[in-house]
């Protein structure tokens, strides 16, 4: 694994980690030399930084989890990476081994004895480097393992926590670090800076003849987007506007708070995570919004709906809804009027929205309003298989082979339903499907629920 050259500071990141925006999967270009270690820390310093940042997460809940694992190995049965490779290293709880070691040695009630009698080995730099692949390349934080564990351990959340240590040890995979750093500096992982966003909103409004309010001083509803949509699926921006306008909502986009993805969360930098979240919160507060709508994105929902208040330090002064939830609400209130789509549809559940987020039925309510013939895949809803691209995995080139193996599960699931249309409500899932479709020459394209709604709105002839 290469280390970033010592004189890296001050180099032009745009040149060093150029973006790749013309492939089915948006990320940074595949590097000729991978820089999977960041910073010029010594090995000891890396381990120390990891330990320090692990300790921050060892509260009561994490401790109870660490004390409860009985090494039954059943979590492996739930994990798509293990499913397609049968490689025991992809056992979810094994991915946490350094985190567990650190807990038992440094923090647990018997820590002194663990150190005294060396009952668990000290975490080494080599081990952390080896675990980078396990913690990043082979985990989408999908939470199937958490759903399986007989002891009820939320393994997925612990993975996110373990990434905190890895980040500060400077052990984030090349591409993930690059896009996270870019997001922190520029406001978007994929180059959708506020200026770029504003420009896009402008020409989209023009091209599609749709009103797209930007930077209103006051609005009832603040809408947000993900960079994947802004850069790859700009139709989603238009669709958002169409739906909002159709519903007669007093809404706006804001250039000081529009990016819903959170690469601080995905890469493991808690400070960056907070910074990115606060932008959205501050923007909503600034315009007095009562509701903040998150776009079709998975981890964006987890980051703000469930983790946002902790970043803010107090309950959020506005409602947070995923776009699918917002649409479902308006279906229930009979405000959203759509044409019937006489096609058979299968719905891919985005892990962070359905299983981890709790908004499983909302998309289905919307699909019901659209009058589709819903053919559920097997398994579905809370136990559905992950697309394999979440958690930052889709950005990492060296994980492609593994991700494509996983993708075969999804293809079979969808093919088996015989549905004409595959729909989801997460742009990252969507681009993962696009990449898989291209790789396998698959005949199915993944569609967006929002765009399906927007394409079938019944507008008054006014």
């Amino acid at each position: 694994m290469s280390t970033r050259p010592p004189d890296a500071a001050g180099r032009d990141v745009n040149q060093e980690f150029p973006l790749e925006l013309d492939e089915p999967r948006f990320s940074v270009k595949e590097p000729k030399i991978r820089y999977d270690m960041q910073g010029d820390l010594t090995d000891e310093q890396r381990v120390a930084a990891a330990m320090k940042n692990f300790v921050k997460d060892f509260g009561r809940t994490a401790a109870v989890y660490m004390e409860s694992c009985i090494h039954c190995g059943m979590c492996a049965e739930a994990c798509h990476f293990h499913e397609v490779t049968k490689d025991p290293r992809y056992t979810p709880i094994w991915k946490l081994e350094p985190f567990k070691q650190a807990y038992k040695r440094e923090y647990g009630p018997f820590a002194l004895f663990f150190r005294l009698f060396n009952l668990k080995p000290k975490v080494t730099h080599e081990q952390l480097a080896e675990w980078q692949h396990l913690l990043y390349d082979s985990c989408t934080v999908c939470g199937r393992c958490s759903l399986m564990c007989p002891m009820g351990i939320d393994i997925a959340t612990l993975i996110s926590q373990a990434r905190h240590g890895m980040f500060h040890a400077g052990l984030v995979p090349h591409e993930l670090y690059a896009v996270a750093e870019r997001a922190k500096r520029e406001g978007s992982p994929l180059g959708a800076t506020p200026q770029v966003f504003a420009d896009r909103v402008d020409w989209l409004a023009d091209d599609h003849e749709v009103e797209i309010p930007l930077d209103k001083d006051k609005a009832e509803v603040l809408c947000t987007m993900s960079s994947i949509e802004i850069m790859k699926y700009p139709e989603s921006v238009v669709a958002t506007a169409r739906v909002m306008n159709h519903l007669g909502v007093d809404w706006t986009f804001r250039t000081d708070g529009y990016e819903a993805t959170n690469f601080g969360l995905l890469s493991g930098n808690a400070a960056w995570q907070k910074q990115m979240t606060m932008k959205l919160i501050d923007a909503a507060v600034a315009c007095g919004a009562k509701t903040l709508i998150l776009p079709e994105c998975g981890h964006a929902y987890m980051a703000l709906r469930w983790m946002g208040a902790a970043m803010y330090g107090k309950p959020l002064p506005f409602r947070v809804l995923h776009m699918a939830e917002f649409l479902a609400e308006n279906v229930r209130d009979k405000r959203l009027r759509v044409r019937k789509v006489r096609q058979s549809v299968t719905f891919h559940d985005p892990c962070q929205v359905s299983r981890r987020g709790g908004a499983t039925e909302a998309p289905r309510e919307v699909l019901a309003a659209l009058g589709v013939e819903l053919r559920e895949m097997h398994p579905t809803k809370g136990t559905n298989w992950c697309c394999g691209g979440g958690g930052g995995v889709v950005a990492i080139h060296r994980a492609d082979k593994l991700r494509h193996q996983v993708f075969q599960i999804k293809m079979k699931q969808i093919d088996d339903t015989g549905a004409e249309l595959a729909v989801t409500s997460c742009a990252n899932c969507r681009q993962t499907f696009d990449d898989g479709q291209a790789h396998f020459n698959w005949d199915k394209t993944m569609h967006s629920l929002l765009e399906l709604v927007a394409d079938n709105l019944i507008e008054d002839e006014a």
Binding site: H71, T91, P150, W306, A309, L316, A359
Partner: protein, 229 residues
């Protein structure tokens, strides 16, 4: 002092004391760690309802069953046999009653209105045998299954041994088998149970207590969000 006297005397006192000591050390050491209040707006506000995960997680969702049925069935077979043998075999329950009485002052029936039920020895013998068979099965699985082999450590094997020993020595003592005097067999059986007691708080066996906290925590956090349980 014979082996049996030692087992029923000093060894018993020390092992019970170590059990209580270690258990509280570990549980208090974990439960006094900090927690953060969940400030997010709940989808389901009744937090305590999430505790139902403690019961729900007792059997996997059918989607996960194919690869886990063996482990689940063997696990229950072992636990059922072990717990029934431990708590419903007369010589054992007399021990627990003596502890009960010593600590609370009245006997079990005095407090609860009904006698601690006992099962016939034949039933106990059968369930003990089932338990031992299940233990052997899971050990073989642990050694041969690639996932378990990778993640298993000293704790797993020691805990297995200390759990199996009382069952096996108990059967041997009951059958007066094994080539040793009955008093020696009985002494070894009691000592093996004491070794299990003394080890209990320090290895993975603590899951007997933490399972409620772990499932409960996850249940409450997840149910609050409406996430899948």
């Amino acid at each position: 002092m014979t082996l049996l006297d030692f087992a029923r005397g000093p060894a018993l006192q020390w092992s019970v004391a170590i059990f209580v000591f270690g258990l509280l050390w570990r549980l208090v050491g974990v439960f006094l760690l900090r927690t953060k209040k969940d400030l997010s707006a709940p989808r389901n506000p009744a937090a305590w309802k999430g505790l139902r995960l403690i019961a729900l997680r007792s059997w996997p969702r059918k989607e996960f069953l194919e690869g886990t049925a063996f482990g689940e069935v063997m696990g229950y077979a072992f636990h059922l046999g072990f717990l029934v043998t431990l708590f419903f075999y007369v010589p054992h329950l007399l021990f627990f009653e003596s502890v009960f009485e010593g600590l609370i002052g009245t006997d079990f029936e005095g407090l609860f209105g009904f006698a601690w039920p006992a099962l016939p020895t034949g039933v106990i013998t059968f369930l003990s045998a089932v338990s031992i068979a299940a233990l052997v099965a899971v050990l073989v699985h642990r050694i041969t299954n690639p996932v378990k082999r990778l993640i298993s450590n000293f704790d797993d094997y020691l805990s297995w041994f200390l759990t199996a020993a009382p069952l096996v020595t108990g059967m041997l003592a009951y059958a007066h088998a094994g080539g040793l005097r009955y008093e020696t067999l009985l002494g070894l059986h009691i000592l093996s149970a004491e070794a299990l007691l003394a080890w209990f708080p320090f290895g993975k066996l603590i899951h007997a207590f933490t399972i409620f906290a772990a499932r409960g925590s996850t249940g409450m956090i997840f149910d609050r969000r409406g996430a899948s349980l």
